[in-house]
């Protein structure tokens, strides 16, 4: 019997493995492709050097420099350093900052403790409990009372305000959104009509008009004695706005559920409430989670509009800080810094939502 010894594996030809092969495949596969590469390189050549020069090479990284000594060729990063507290906390009194930090710290503690008891039977109680108790604790910490000094809401600002408004907006609009989504699905004509009108109206107008409505018109609807906090008015406006979008997202979830689920629930003799709460909602919410995160991202972006009605979110702080006489004309540094912070937050959220989409997709691939 002949024995065939294994031949030694030949290495692929050099032109196929080295960087040259990669370049040839990806950048110079044809004449037009090579031309495109040169166009792209030219665009990069035009854009990148000025940006890098301004942010890094010509920039002044001396964090103690003042506006004069900083120079005008490049960015002056000491502007950010000098106003960092304002960017994060707004005008919150310096001695009371620990309260804001505690509030954020508590979230981390809650999440960590939550992941510890994730597998136990108390999971649901824990989540519901924290959602009920935490907002009260957070409010007392931020606003004051119970022995803490009162800090009026017009002192709140910066990233703190952005996060608070986005969080309250999404949490408050959630139950309302579910109601309107159910209303739009309802067989009761009047209820459906009201829901459709509300949702389509809100989705048809810009957020800024709703914020104007909430800040100027809303106080007129209540008797003169009631004094409305500016932040509260903005929150009402944002919640009303977000409700319509959440309702549409959840309605999408309802529509994605096979009809058989509804029929099976009816056949099992469940009442409308049982059917909705036990069978339909859990599935609908699960399907819509990626879109809810998407909607939260949009809300987070929209919180910047607070500056137009005179609240000091992170973006408004740029204006406030650079109109200070000792830092005149440093808007660009401020905008770039805020853009980077918000970008990191939003980009990680959108990555997260992509991952959720993959995890929750029940489609067979």
């Amino acid at each position: 019997m002949a024995i065939y010894p294994l031949k030694e594996t030949r290495t692929p030809p050099k032109s196929q493995t080295k960087a040259i092969a990669w370049l040839k495949d990806n950048l110079f596969s044809s004449i037009s492709n090579a031309a495109l590469t040169f166009v792209a390189l030219y665009v990069i050549y035009l854009l990148l050097p000025p940006i890098l020069n301004w942010t890094i090479f010509d920039a002044n990284f001396d964090l103690t420099a003042d506006n004069q000594s900083c120079g005008r060729e490049g960015a002056c990063w000491s502007f950010i350093n000098a106003n960092l507290k304002m960017f994060i906390y707004g005008f919150y009194p310096k001695e009371e900052l620990w309260r804001v930090n505690t509030m954020f710290g508590l979230i981390a503690v809650l999440v960590m403790f939550g992941s510890l008891i994730k597998k136990t039977q108390y999971r649901v109680h824990y989540i519901i409990g924290s959602f009920l108790i935490y907002p009260v604790v957070a409010f007392v910490l931020l606003y004051g009372g119970l022995g803490l000094e009162i800090v009026e809401t017009d002192k709140w600002g910066g990233l703190t305000l952005t996060v608070i408004v986005a969080a309250i907006g999404i949490i408050a609009s959630f139950p309302l959104g579910i109601l309107f989504a159910l209303g739009r699905q309802s067989e009761m004509r009047v209820v459906r009509f009201i829901s459709v009108i509300y949702i389509e109206f809100v989705r048809g107008v810009p957020l800024i008009t709703i914020l104007f409505m909430a800040s100027v018109v809303l106080p007129l609807f209540f008797s003169a004695g009631m004094d409305f906090d500016k932040l509260l008015r903005a929150l009402i406006g944002i919640t009303l706005f977000q409700t319509a979008y959440i309702a549409e997202v959840i309605r999408g979830g309802f529509q994605a559920i096979p009809k058989g689920q509804y029929e099976a629930a009816d056949a099992a003799g469940l009442s409308f409430m049982q059917k909705t709460i036990l069978i339909i909602l859990p599935q609908a919410l699960k399907i819509s989670i990626p879109n809810i995160v998407g909607s939260f991202i949009a809300l987070f972006k929209d919180t910047t509009l607070l500056l137009i009605i005179g609240l000091f979110d992170m973006l408004a702080i740029v204006g406030a800080a650079s109109s200070n006489s000792s830092w005149l004309g440093r808007e660009t540094e401020g905008y770039v810094f805020v853009a980077m912070v918000i970008w990191v937050i939003l980009y990680s959220m959108s990555r997260y939502s992509k991952r959720l989409e993959v995890r929750f997709s029940t489609e067979h691939r």
Binding site: N33, P206, F212, F221, F222, L305, Y335, V338
Partner: protein, 387 residues
């Protein structure tokens, strides 16, 4: 009797009616309360009500004004119209550039060229994750500092000037001769459409492709220019007088910052819509096109894009709507569109918040309705026949 009533209460239809009546009563009660309080508040504060204010003198100047007659002596109603026109102008400009940019970037994202692909991805990921208001303010501050003062304007042929206040260019004097130019432009477009139809028909029947780009250049570009030169129509040129330009017409720097930011932002979403549209086209279609001997460009233009657009256009139209709504953020930089003029200046002068904000909302609602109407018509038309 009691059991009968009880069974009636558990009847689904009766319950539904009861529930709806209850809902209406609750809403009506709150609406009544709100209205009552409102009337009381208005009376106490001495605010006027009704739409009479529309006929009052506006009393403020407007930076950007294109077609309409407007001066501080005009009424608030005219200011309202100027606001609507300016909103539409910035929205249409933004939509045009966002579409062009979005199309280029969307196709680039699927390019076989590594560099082009990565650049498109980086562009999308950066600009989509930064709030639009921040972008508007950023470009505005850049534009203010990057462009020269009116004295040192960038000068094109002594007739177009670019400076930190805006772009100044000649304005046609709307008299006798100029209507000839307009008429020739319209005639040129009509003629071009006619030729285009003819060449399409020829293509359908014989398969011969005619190059009609020269026809386009001749009829739509050259003809009006020739008529302009021959007829002796006049233009009014902008000229530096004191600290600023007089005469001619101009687009303010606020307009540029706003239109630029809106286009850049919306283009990222349009690019993603186009990419997912192209990805939705079956691979076999491209292979079939290649097998038929079409070049890559032909395959893209005649096979892939028409099918991709069916998927991509609904989200794109949604982005057009978003862009139009986002144009209301002009209030932050002071481009004089609807919200700035009407919900800003007029509201401050008149104080009738309810009427003014409702009118503003109605304009946007109308635009939304028109756009969703277009979308519905498109969806009906684009449904694959025979399914």
């Amino acid at each position: 009797m009691f059991t009968k009533l009880k069974s009636l209460l558990y009847n689904n239809e009766v319950r539904a009616i009861l529930f709806q009546v209850l809902a209406v009563v609750v809403i009506a009660y709150f609406a009544y309360q709100a209205f009552d309080n409102m009337m009381l508040n208005i009376e106490q504060r001495g605010i006027r009500s009704g739409f009479g204010f529309l006929n009052d003198e506006a009393g403020f100047a407007v930076n950007d004004n294109f077609f309409l007659e407007y001066s501080p002596a005009s009424t608030n109603l005219q200011a309202f119209y100027v606001g609507i026109v300016n909103t539409l102008i910035v929205a249409i400009t933004g939509i045009f550039f966002a579409t062009v940019l979005g199309l280029i970037v969307g196709i680039s994202r699927l390019s076989s060229n590594y560099l082009i692909r990565k650049m498109a991805t980086v562009y999308i990921e950066i600009f989509r994750n930064i709030p639009i208001l921040l972008q508007i303010l950023f470009w505005y501050s850049i534009a203010l500092s990057a462009f020269p003062s009116p004295k040192n304007s960038i000068n094109f042929f002594d007739s177009i000037f670019l400076n930190s206040r805006g772009l100044y260019f000649p304005k046609p004097i709307m008299e006798g001769e100029f209507y000839f130019v307009l008429a020739s432009l319209v005639a040129g477009i009509v003629g071009y459409i006619f030729i285009k139809k003819h060449s399409n028909k020829k293509h359908d029947e014989t398969g011969v492709v005619t190059n009609i780009i020269p026809h386009f250049l001749g009829l739509v570009v050259l003809l009006p220019i020739v008529v302009y030169l021959v007829s002796g129509a006049q233009l009014e040129y902008p000229a530096l007088k004191g600290f600023n330009f007089r005469g001619g017409t101009d687009l303010s720097i606020e307009f540029f910052a706003l239109a630029f930011a809106l286009s850049i932002y919306a283009a990222t979403y349009i690019a993603e819509a186009i990419r997912s549209g192209i990805e939705s086209v079956d691979k076999g279609q491209k292979e079939a096109a290649a097998a038929m001997g079409l070049t890559q460009t032909q395959a893209l233009r005649q096979v892939v894009l028409p099918q991709a657009l069916r998927v991509a256009i609904p989200p794109i139209i949604n982005q057009y709507l978003n862009l139009t709504k986002n144009s209301s953020l002009a209030a932050a930089v002071g481009y004089t569109e609807l919200v700035t003029i009407f919900s800003g200046t007029v509201l401050n002068v008149v104080g009738q918040a309810i009427e003014i904000i409702i009118l503003t909302m109605l304009v946007y609602l109308t635009i939304s309705l028109v756009i969703s109407l277009i979308l519905n018509i498109f969806n009906k038309k684009m449904q694959i026949k025979g399914k």
